[in-house]
């Protein structure tokens, strides 16, 4: 995988070429889409053409849908819910995971409960959360927390358990105190795994947010998509999905960047169990 300096200029060339090919593909696809609608091959009701989507996008940013609730309000509502639920899950799951992961008995005793709790599809808890807490913000944030919590918890437990025993022995041989052992050895060694769990959990938060916003609110990207369904506006649905995609992509870039800055020793764990 290493690139020698001789090949790096050629590498840059292929990168530029790749971006060009990608851009061309998008442009050709958009043109093809636009013209197939104009020529009447596909219906503009089911596949609103790109020109129409542009108008809808501008309408969503200036007027909003439903009127007065602009795209920014939707995005902000979704961001706030995700951040609250995600932060709550992180704050609870990491200490708990470290506690469980340090003891073999606790790992075994908690395993069936955690496995089952993870298997419960978070969205299936939606009716229960609504029955308990009503259709409010609390139920929404709680469901995001639930979805993220178990993923971060299992990854934290695994991370703590999989710390190389040699690190342990080396540190003990050098006479580190228990607190030093924890903060200087175990925590840094398990952080990459915890972080990749947090990344997976963010994907989960995205999955859950769409469902929980579809009930009992008109603010948020999920609500926007739900409204588009009630009014049969496929153009609004598509623009809503576009926002969702951009927002998700942006957040994953931010997390990757944070990981590189905060955890330079992490090699980026590609394969993490969900």
């Amino acid at each position: 995988m290493k690139l020698s300096s001789k090949r790096s200029s050629r590498f840059l060339g292929t990168r530029v070429l790749n971006v060009l090919i990608r851009l061309m593909t998008v442009i050709i696809l958009l043109f093809f889409w636009e013209f197939s609608v104009r020529l009447g091959w596909i219906s503009s009701f089911e596949f609103p053409p790109p020109s129409r989507l542009m108008e809808t996008l501008i309408m969503l940013i200036t007027d909003g849908f439903p009127r007065g609730i602009t795209a920014w309000i939707h995005v902000l509502a979704t961001v706030m819910r995700i951040l609250q639920g995600y932060a709550l899950a992180t704050v609870m799951a990491i200490p708990m995971g470290i506690l469980i992961g340090r003891s073999k008995i606790l790992v075994r005793a908690s395993n069936p409960v955690i496995t089952f709790a993870r298997s419960v599809a978070t969205i299936s808890l939606l009716p229960l959360a609504v029955a308990w807490f009503g259709v409010g913000e609390f139920a929404r944030v709680l469901l995001i927390t639930y979805g993220c919590f178990w993923i971060i918890l299992t990854n934290t437990i695994d991370g703590v358990q999989q710390v190389d025993p040699d690190y342990h022995r080396a540190a003990q041989m050098m006479g580190t105190s228990p607190s030093q052992l924890f903060f200087r050895v175990i925590l840094p060694a398990s952080l990459p795994r915890i972080f990749s769990g947090m990344k997976v959990a963010l994907g989960m938060a995205f999955l859950v947010i769409v469902a929980v916003e579809m009930i009992g609110t008109i603010q948020g990207l999920g609500a926007l998509i739900q409204q588009s369904r009630t009014f049969f506006r496929s153009d609004i649905a598509m623009v809503g999905m576009l926002f969702m995609g951009i927002f998700g992509y942006f957040l994953s870039i931010v997390l990757d960047w944070l990981e590189r800055i905060l955890l330079p020793w992490s090699k980026g764990l590609e394969e993490v169990e969900r």
Partner: protein, 272 residues
């Protein structure tokens, strides 16, 4: 897995140790159930809103008959299996062809990369507008849930093949499409397996969501219906069934498809 292989030698000890581990692992479950029952029995919470485990068992026994429940289960399973199979087959096909033919990858992966970050459930409005209220809209959402993780990990698997494997194959005179089927495809199977597991859990989640939001049958509908009539113990029972089904299917996929078929791969991994 590592522990299992090490313990293979002494079977007698293993059985004893296994039964001890089993005991420890169920203690957690019992503690949770006892606390749950106690909280309700001592009236810390209202039993009508927060049913106890016994109430949930009652709901299971008297509130819904087994044939009705099995009907919901079979409809849900049908949807998820159809959507998942379409998504998995298409995902593996596109992942492999685009991993093999480089030019195709450049064209195909632009739209896939653009659509990938959109959560499956966000497609629900379009699915309903495109396919109507029938089965196909739900199957479509499940398809989306399965397709993207599987196509991504298949493509990744095709790109991460050890080049030496391909060279050895070529050295033995295997070329062209035969090299794809005899060397490249088997070499990427472990990554495809990862994608299949992720894809299955995503399709399952999408199934429940789609059924809660737009269905008249199935497990998701069952719990939404239970909420509307205010029977919370039935909701909890339904959630348990959904969780168990998810656990069971994931176990079956892992055990019988992935581990049995890929013994050679995982075997070599645990020897290292």
């Amino acid at each position: 897995m590592n522990n299992n292989t090490k313990n293979n030698r002494n079977d007698g000890n293993k059985l004893l140790k296994f039964s001890k581990e089993l005991l420890v692992s169920w203690v957690g479950v019992f503690i949770v159930l006892i606390i749950w029952q106690a909280v309700v029995s001592f009236r810390i919470v209202n039993p009508a809103v927060f049913p106890s485990p016994i109430q949930v068992v009652e709901a299971a026994l008297y509130r819904i008959s087994l044939p009705v429940l099995l009907g919901h289960i079979s409809i849900s399973l049908q949807r998820v299996v159809i959507g998942f199979l379409i998504g998995a087959l298409l995902g593996i096909f596109i992942g492999i062809t685009s991993g093999w033919y480089r030019l195709l990858a450049k064209i195909v992966w632009t739209p896939i990369d653009l659509l990938r970050p959109i959560p499956p459930l966000a497609w629900i409005s379009l699915a309903l507008i495109w396919f109507g209220l029938g089965e196909s809209s739900k199957v479509f959402i499940i398809f989306i849930g399965a397709f993207f993780p599987i196509v991504t990990s298949t493509y990744k698997g095709m790109n991460n093949i050890d080049p030496d494997l391909l060279r050895v194959g070529q050295g033995m005179g295997i070329r062209g499409i035969k090299l794809l089927f005899k060397v490249a495809f088997p070499a990427s199977l472990p990554d495809i397996a990862t994608g299949i597991r992720v894809g299955w859990s995503l399709s399952f989640g999408s199934l429940v969501a789609a059924e809660i939001l737009a269905a008249r049958e199935g497990l998701g509908f069952l719990i939404m219906f239970a909420r509307e009539v205010g029977e919370i113990n039935l909701i909890v029972y339904g959630i348990f069934i959904i969780g168990l089904l998810n656990l069971l299917t994931d176990f079956l996929i892992r055990r019988y498809i992935i581990e049995n078929q890929l013994k050679w791969h995982f075997g070599s991994q645990s020897n290292e």
